[in-house]
């Protein structure tokens, strides 16, 4: 019943938007009919190219829009993730952006904004205030480049630091699921003594440790406010409090919390290592849910539970939080004007609007849009994680706030610590890189 109602409301909204689009494109003396029959050409680029449920859901939404808008000649390009960044950077250098394109939250959208390639999608928020109000706190943090203007609406919650654990292994070795740092270190020791890897980590792509572990670990030590200050240059990453946070990471490394060679195996391999019962825990993002759904047997998934990272005694940050943030959304090119702009906004709303969010959430993929998923057909582990994310406070992911160069620096720095590097040096390099980019 409720579903049907939202559908009706959305339809009415869509129709009103369409008529609005027509009338606004009709300021000249042309007849009304002439305006609505005019073909509008539109291009959209995204990286939902694969065979996973989420990619299919997004492509489905675009197809629906195509069907519902025969007057729009839509050229939709699905570009493989591996090449998406490079492709977009190249066309951006040539100032040839498509009308609508998927951008990652963080340095990529920031760079595009700085280069004057984007225009706000605020008209949508004005038209659908209820929709905008339904997003979780912080959803627009990285898309609000100017006060009161939003440049994209996230279609994903990138929750990056769930603590997944294998309940059977914890029971078998009589280990308590850690809620504090001390308990975590005790668990690490017990598992090591029993020849089980405490935490599976696949840090070959070096963003993994940063995104999954450091974000929530450092937040617990430094608190969120300090981090946001440091990003702006009002605090320094060389402050003792951050060096301490890196020290916590080093403590994990020194106590052999991760398996040997974690820097040379990828995230997928680490997930497999964990799911095969070789490791007791894994700190990873919501994407692990998607991957496991595709490549693990139900028996392998059965003992897996999900919670938040343990609290750190004496830290300035809150416990029970997970790091996360807007996972990216669709943005509008500055060059798109007139009828094409109206159609483009309409297209963005078709994907990022309430129905779109629901469709994406039901593809076992997290969104930053409030809704009730209990009755939906999603996997139980996903539902568990979704509820954990709903209850937990969300703290910033480092690379969503740092400049691209500083992000690279801390990614490499964590690998360095895993190879015996000193937290002080890593902190210094991070500070230098961030300072260089804020000076500009």
């Amino acid at each position: 019943m409720k579903k049907r109602l939202t559908l009706v409301i959305t339809l009415i909204a869509l129709i009103s938007l369409l008529t609005a689009a027509c009338s606004s494109g009709n300021q000249t003396n042309e007849s009304h009919e002439g305006g609505s029959n005019e073909k509008v050409k539109l291009t959209i680029w995204h990286n939902f190219a694969g065979d996973d449920l989420r990619a299919k859901a997004v492509r489905g939404l675009i197809d629906e829009y195509k069907k519902a808008n025969p007057n729009v000649e839509l050229d939709a390009q699905a570009i493989p993730v591996d090449g998406y960044r490079q492709r977009l950077s190249t066309v951006a250098a040539g100032n040839e952006m498509p009308d609508v394109f998927f951008v990652y939250a963080g340095s990529q959208s920031q760079e595009f904004y700085d280069a004057g390639l984007l225009q706000p999608i605020t008209p949508l928020a004005e038209e659908y205030p209820e929709w905008k109000g339904n997003f979780m706190d912080g959803a627009f943090d990285r898309f609000e480049f100017e006060e009161g203007q939003i440049y994209s609406a996230p279609i994903g919650l990138s929750a990056t630091s769930f603590l997944y654990y294998n309940k059977d292994l914890f029971e078998k070795h009589g280990v308590k699921v850690p809620t504090t740092w001390t308990e975590l270190m005790a668990a690490v020791k017990t598992f090591n003594d029993n020849g089980i890897t405490p935490i599976a980590l696949g840090n070959k792509a070096p963003w993994v440790a940063q995104s999954t572990i450091l974000g929530s670990l450092a937040d617990r030590v430094t608190g969120t406010d300090w981090f946001l200050k440091a990003v702006k240059g009002e605090a320094s990453f060389t402050d003792p409090v951050f060096v301490d946070a890196l020290g916590k990471f080093k403590e994990l490394v020194d106590n052999k919390a991760f398996q040997e060679g974690a820097n040379s195996i990828d995230n997928t391999q680490a997930e497999q290592y964990f799911i095969q019962g070789n490791a007791a825990m894994m700190v990873s993002g919501a994407w692990t849910l998607t991957n496991l759904a595709a490549s693990a047997t139900p028996e392998q998934v059965a003992p897996i539970e999900v919670t938040t990272m343990p609290a750190i005694e004496g830290g300035a940050g809150e416990a029970g939080t997970i790091s996360g943030g807007a996972g990216g959304g669709f943005a509008l090119s500055k060059k798109t004007e007139g009828a094409a702009k109206d159609a483009a906004l309409d297209l963005i709303y078709s994907i990022s609007g309430p129905d779109g969010q629901k469709a994406i959430a039901e593809s076992n993929s997290m969104v930053m849009y409030k809704m009730d998923l209990a009755s939906s057909n999603v996997s139980p582990l996903y539902l568990k994680a979704f509820n954990v994310a709903m209850e937990a406070g969300i703290t910033p992911v480092y690379d969503a706030y740092l400049s691209a160069e500083a992000g690279e620096s801390i990614n490499n720095g964590l690998q360095e610590i895993m190879m015996g590097g000193k937290p002080e040096d890593v902190a210094k390099k991070l500070q230098d890189a961030q300072a260089r980019s804020t000076q500009k």
Partner: protein, 290 residues
């Protein structure tokens, strides 16, 4: 003189199409890219001319020097690995027997496969827990040799260079076989009459006859090793902590990941300069020997 004129117009016509395509689609873009190297440019928005600052920054960046060192390891391993092994195999497999044909095809196969497959399989060979190499070492009782081959910075660059060499032997083998066949039978017969066999024949007859090809392969080794990119991206991504960074991966990261396009362009110009320098050196050395 009509023949002179005719040959001149022939040369012009024979060179023109190749030159045209080459200059427009390879030389102009690289000059263009070198030009970007003088700017502070994120790749988006406005450019700021900074003269040689990018080069200065590059020379002060320890990662640049590490990448260069890693590239030189690849160059060395290619010249002392790929070329002699390929030449040896070419000499052994020259005769067109069934056995040789099968082996020749086999040696070429890594080249046919995409680098992703090569990277994946070697990833499994080097895998720290279930990897083939560590398993074998354990069986042989060489437990002290066991290590995380791709993440231990003391060995990982060497570990990475083995698959690269292994995968690249194929093309050199084919090049050498084509060249060896071109040694006319008279030369071989003359050598036989002179009693030149074995190493003597190799050094006094075979090598001088294919010397131009050897030089080309060494040039290919140098330029190929300095441009090396794909295998490393798949196997280590240049990590951990940039320990297997190469000039090309360093350039790529700067250009497309951290929005320092101008700097990345300067690095790519540097790659060309270094290659040219090494090839010049090679030219001087081989000229004397040849």
């Amino acid at each position: 003189m009509p023949t002179y004129l005719r040959s001149r117009s022939f040369v012009a016509l024979a060179l023109l199409p190749a030159m045209l395509i080459f200059i427009v689609f390879a030389i102009v873009p690289i000059i263009w890219s070198a030009y970007y190297g003088f700017f502070d440019w994120s790749g988006l928005g406005s450019l700021k001319f900074i003269g040689l600052d990018n080069y200065e920054m590059m020379l002060q960046d320890p990662i640049f020097w590490r990448a260069l060192k890693n590239n030189l390891i690849l160059v060395a391993s290619a010249i002392i690995g790929q070329v002699p092994i390929a030449l040896l195999l070419a000499l052994l497999l020259l005769k067109n027997s069934m056995f040789n044909r099968v082996i020749r095809s086999a040696v070429f196969m890594p080249m046919v496969l995409s680098t992703v497959v090569v990277g994946l399989i070697w990833g499994y060979i080097y895998q720290p827990q279930i990897g083939l190499l560590n398993t074998v070492l354990e069986m042989l009782g060489l437990d002290s040799w066991i290590r995380a081959w791709l993440s231990d910075p003391k060995v990982n660059m060497y570990a990475v260079s083995i698959p690269i060499n292994w995968a690249n032997i194929g093309p050199y083998l084919v090049i050498f076989i084509a060249a060896l066949q071109n040694i006319s039978s008279e030369v071989n017969d003359a050598a036989k009459i002179d009693g030149a066999v074995g190493f003597r024949k190799l050094f006094y007859v075979t090598l001088p006859n294919i010397w131009d090809t050897v030089i080309v392969t060494i040039i290919l080794c140098i330029s190929g090793s300095l441009k090396a990119f794909d295998h490393v991206i798949v196997m280590t991504g240049g990590g951990p902590a940039q320990s297997t960074e190469l000039l090309a991966t360093y350039m790529y990261n700067n250009s497309f990941t951290v929005y320092r396009y101008g700097y990345g362009s300067a690095v790519s110009t540097m790659i060309i300069l270094i290659s040219a320098l090494l090839i010049g050196l090679n030219y001087i050395i081989t000229k004397r020997r040849g």
